[in-house]
Amino acid sequence: MQLSRSQRLKGDEMRKNKIAPWPYLLIAPALITILTVVFFPVLNAIFMSFQSYDLRRPSQIHFTGLANYLSAVQDPLFWQALLKTVIWVGVGVGLQFVFGFMLALLLNRKFWGRGVVRSISLIPWVTPGVLIGLMWRWIYDGNYGVLNDVLTRLGLIKSNIPFLAQQSTAFPMVILTIVWQGIPFFALMLLAGLQGIPEELYDAANVDGANAFQRFFSITVPSLRNTIFVTTLLRIIWVANSVDVIFNLTEGGPAYATQTLSVYVFNKGNTLNLGYASTMAILLALSLAVVAVPYLKTLFKSQEESE
């Protein structure tokens, strides 16, 4: 029994007119918590970024204006970390998308045991980042690692490679790990989207004699446009912010080869130079706004449509 649209709107209207305290009381606990642990700290970070705030010299905390921002602009490690972040996100999320889409298409077919296969293929997504870092660190190990053994047996390499210890291989290997982590999430979201495409669209295309490629590009991809957009933006934000995987694989090394901006901020925070770390965190947040703003816009649009 659904109320008709007009009845429902009338109900809403009535609630709007008398200003009831109820909704405000209900959101108050969540709101107060978030203001205390998110918005206040963000303001605090902005404030700290204008200070020389080093906990190793707590007596010398003082206001320095834009000094931290000027040192960030002149810090070659900052620019390197920013470049690493762009590659990390671009290549990492790109490959997650391609392989996640592939997995979603493969799981969308009917076969025996599909439910189980679908569940177990999601496990990397719920694995702790620390464990991901450590598991792969052991796989990549230069002396006893299984990857070296497999490549040797296949005849692809003659002697062991210390994957994470040399500059040329460390970053690709770290990216491979984040791709492994992200494939299931893309597959999960895209699979849900695929199941929402009406079968008739494909039937109609078959009647018109479309081949598999034409069906894919003229039906599948356009139908999934929104899912692809939202999932990709969300994943970009997560991957750009992720610290635990890289930190547990390489801690940003060797010689900063795998140090993204998030990891750089984390390392600086560990050395207790909080003013400078805050400055770089704010710069990271500002660069992410490029992605976050369109994401939020889409979310709101879809929410208004569903109401």
Binding site: A30, V38, F111, I123, P128, D244
Partner: protein, 287 residues
């Protein structure tokens, strides 16, 4: 006659199987890639110490041993970080669910001034980099004296669990028609009674799924945990990471710890999976 029919059917089935074969092979290859690390972690955890560091890599241990697990619990008292994680994750779940359920109900059932602004505030939360919050929170917690206590972790985890739970629960609630409570309210129940008697029982599976997700994220979290805990209250991820560097790397014990960590997560995930996936994908797919 019957024989030729059966033959034709078998032929069709074989043909269908052959057409699906490349897909099956590709899927199998992807599954090997996705699952091999877990297999390798498990095998490592049950190998004898000297086999781990021998010149030939073995894909199944020559002799099974649970020595790494024994050492993990007996010598390194792994039960302590496990209890710490359990405490932090459970309390985070209870706090986040209570607070978020109330807020989600308000967003779903009332139209009020500032509703959109408040929803934006909660959604924007997920956009702030962890490291941006980490530093001021560290300074604040230190100042108010709760740094290195479980409260510090629980509070900092609500920064991402509350917005996320509100988003999920709001979606689930929007799927339950308002007429449900309105009928009860016509019959004389007040809003709170209608919520407790009608909505909450129907929402329980969704609350459980959301709770499972919150629990998993708190159980898995590392970045806040490493900065906000000390020896006494460190959680599992920090304990695992600390195995590296104490006495060189003890891979047997580390992988044993990994297996112990991930088993509860997997069990929870399998139970909550269906609802969780529904809730997660609803927003993106509807859009």
């Amino acid at each position: 006659m019957a024989q030729t029919q059966r033959g034709a059917r078998r032929f069709r089935r074989t043909k269908r199987f052959l057409r699906a074969l490349p897909g099956h092979i590709l899927l199998a290859a992807m599954l090997v890639f996705l699952l091999f690390p877990f297999y390798w972690t498990f095998v490592t955890s049950i190998k004898p110490q000297k086999e781990l560091y021998s010149s030939t890599v073995t894909y199944w241990p020559s002799a099974l041993t649970f020595a790494s697990y024994r050492k993990l619990f007996a010598e390194y008292n792994f039960i302590r970080p496990m209890l710490n994680s359990l405490l932090v994750a459970s309390l985070t779940t209870v706090v986040s669910l209570t607070v978020s359920l109330l807020a989600a109900y308000a967003f779903s059932r009332f139209r009020f001034k500032g509703r959109k602004l408040f929803m934006t505030m909660f959604l924007t939360n997920n956009m702030f980099p962890t490291v941006l919050l980490l530093i001021p929170l560290f300074a604040i917690m230190r100042k108010i004296g709760i740094l290195y206590t479980p409260s510090a972790l629980i509070l900092s985890y609500t920064t991402f669990t509350i917005p996320f739970s509100i988003w999920l629960l709001n979606g689930y609630l929007n799927d339950l028609p308002r007429s449900l409570e309105e009928a009860a309210m016509v019959d004389g129940a007040n809003r709170a009674q209608a919520f407790m008697k009608i909505i909450l029982p129907m929402l329980i599976p969704c609350v459980v799924a959301t709770g499972a997700y919150v629990f998993m994220t708190a159980w898995n979290e590392y970045t806040f945990a490493v900065m906000f805990t000390n020896e006494a209250n460190r959680t599992i991820p920090v304990a695992l990471k600390n195995f590296i560097g104490q006495l060189g790397v003890e891979w047997g014990m580390l992988t044993a710890g990994g297996i112990v960590t991930i088993v509860p997560v997997c069990i929870m995930f399998f139970f909550a999976q269906r609802r969780l996936v529904e809730g997660l994908t609803a927003g993106a797919v509807k859009g």
